[in-house]
Amino acid sequence: MLEIKNLHVRAGGREILKGIDLTIPDGHTCVLFGPNGSGKSTLLAAIMGYGSTEITEGRIVFKGQDITRMSVDERAKLGIGMMMQRPPNVTGVKLGDLVKATAGGGDCEGVLDKVDTFGMDRFMDRDVNVGFSGGELKRSELLQLTAQQPDFVLLDEPESGVDIESMALVGQKVRELLYDNSVCGVKSNVNRDVSSLVITHTGQILDYIGADTAYIMKDGTIRCSGRPADILKDIREKGYRECIECRSRIVKL
């Protein structure tokens, strides 16, 4: 579904990604670990096509199409959707209007009847993200993504800022977004094969989704990969540095 080859990306005036190679097949859930500042969010922003990132080398292929130079909305229309870690405030734009525009008058308008299941029914007349708490931001993002129904979902730390109680709802909605054989939360016979790339620090989200592969990123490159549970265990026990060193030795052997 997604193929990234030798991707070099500049952001904030310096090179952040230094040659990323990554392939995510149809229906795969991939997890991205890595210390702060390693370039994880930059990678997601580059896949989405945000102007804060500049691709200097390499390419991104999605569903067989080279999207390296595509605009953000073209990528979204091709089926890429993103949950930002800190989405911007959009003063004056009502969440309800954005969800409706996102659903685009299609089948997903049905999601508007289910906003209460996201705990967002009181927020539809509020300005997008303005004054939202951590958990509200995530639920708002998930509501928008559910209206959008992307085939490839980028999730940047879905658990950050979410209290323990709300985590169950966020986890459930992420699970539905990735695996529910339904359209916009409304059951249907359409077979969906959603792939995703999920950034997580704590691994909490892994209690709700079944990840296929985990990667560790450091200093703008992907250093190693493996089974998500193993990698998380290694990071917890040994820290990133030792985990990476140990795993790269294994690969060499």
Binding site: D73, M82, V90, V93, L98, A101
Partner: protein, 404 residues
């Protein structure tokens, strides 16, 4: 009627406005005082109806009353709430009631500038709306001022009297037709809110690319009364300058100015609001949202705190959609009293890129994203905007093609 010193007013004919470029009044011909009569708005010819609908003047259902002026004369007047609302022409009111003269040129000085002086000396007609003591109108009154003939000077003198404890919403639309763009509109409006009354006054303008516009509005607000002034200009205009004044004279009086304006290339817009807080515990809010797309836009706001316990806030926000033109925000705060709380904020700039891309990541095109943000930016300035106006605003935004 002529209680002022006519000589002094005649002298004021040579007095340019305090703001905005000077307009040569003599270039225009006085508009007719005997325009065609329209019995029913629905029966007006289609081009007039279309012009009126662009400024929110629509069918008479859901309206307490409707009064229409074409050029300098009354063309239509209807009233469905006669038990509490009186709608007349200013001239009719002057002839009917002895006391009306006390409300003429009381809130506004005819010597303010050449435009008020001209209106005074011409003894211009206009609309007169009075809401009787304690009466709460069920529906809005709509008023409309159209310029039909080209090269016309439209001079109107309007009076609104809100008696004690009364309440009303007025929607007033002013416009030119397709062929009368090179004209001058001068509308003097004197608004009186007696104690504990409530008036929401929304003015929508839609002019031609060459039209000159000089509204002159003054409101005096009594104890516990509350006044909202909404001003909307989303179409091209030649030169528009307006700086309405509210004097909060009674304890606990409040007023809100909400302005949403667009200055396209060739438009010269200078607008805002002044609130003078003359009594204790008065409250004022001036909110301005403007957009420049190659035109000149001056957003003014002035708060004058003259009494203890006065509280007021002023906010000027401008979006600049393209290079060229000029945007100037001028917020002013003035007081000589220690116990006042007056604040302001002003911001000028483009739409943040991350907001546009955020909406684009949901599948909206760049134009759709910008349109949505701009619409939200403008509409966000007016809380409780009459639902009837939203459609007109959406259409005007659509027409202005702000997304590109």
């Amino acid at each position: 009627m002529q209680k002022q010193d006519s000589e002094a007013v005649k002298k004021a004919l040579g007095k340019a406005g305090a703001y905005g470029e000077d307009i040569d009044i003599d270039r225009f011909e006085a508009g007719t005082r005997n325009p065609e009569a329209i019995d029913d708005i629905a029966d007006a010819d289609s081009s007039l109806r279309e012009t009126m609908s662009h400024v929110g003047v629509t069918s008479e259902e859901e309206r307490s009353g409707t009064i229409v002026f074409i050029d300098n004369g009354m063309s239509h007047c209807s009233n469905r709430e006669q038990e509490g609302v009186e709608i007349l022409s200013t001239r009719q009111a002057f002839e009917k009631y002895d006391w009306v003269k006390d409300y003429m040129w009381n809130a506004m000085s005819p010597e303010k500038d050449k435009y008020t002086a001209k209106t005074y000396l011409e003894e211009s007609d206009g609309y007169f709306i009075r809401v009787k003591k304690g009466y709460k109108a069920r529906h809005p009154v709509q008023t409309c001022m159209l310029i039909k003939r080209n090269k016309t000077l439209q001079n109107l003198h309007n009076i609104i009297i809100m008696e004690e404890g009364s309440s009303l919403e007025i929607i007033t639309g002013c416009s030119t037709t397709h062929s009368s763009g090179d004209s001058l509109h001068v509308g003097v409006s004197e608004i009186y809110l007696q104690d504990d009354s409530n008036l929401q006054f929304s003015m929508i303008h839609s002019w031609g690319k060459e039209t000159s516009v000089r509204p002159r509005t003054a409101a005096t607000i009594g104890k516990g009364a509350s006044y909202t002034n909404n001003y909307i200009l989303l179409n091209p205009v030649g030169s528009l300058q307006s700086y309405p004044v509210s004097s909060l004279n009674g304890e606990g009086a409040s007023c809100t100015f909400n302005t949403m304006c667009l200055a396209e290339k060739g438009s010269n817009v200078d607008t805002g609001g002044i609130a003078v807080l003359n009594a204790s515990g008065t409250n004022a809010q001036i909110m301005s949202r403007s957009i420049t797309k190659g035109g000149r836009m001056i957003a003014r706001g002035r708060l004058v705190g003259n009494a203890p316990g006065a509280k007021a806030h002023l906010e000027c926000r401008s979006l600049v959609l393209e290079d060229g033109g000029m945007t100037l925000a001028i917020p002013e705060l003035e007081t000589s009293v220690a116990d006042v709380e007056m604040t302001h904020e002003a911001a000028v700039g483009k739409i943040a890129r991350d907001q546009i891309e955020y909406l684009m990541s949901r599948g909206l095109t760049e134009d759709e994203a910008i349109g949505m943000i701009v619409r939200g930016f403008l509409a966000g300035s007016i809380e409780g905007l009459p639902q009837s106006l939203r459609k007109e605003i959406d259409e005007a935004i659509e027409k202005a093609n702000l997304g590109s």
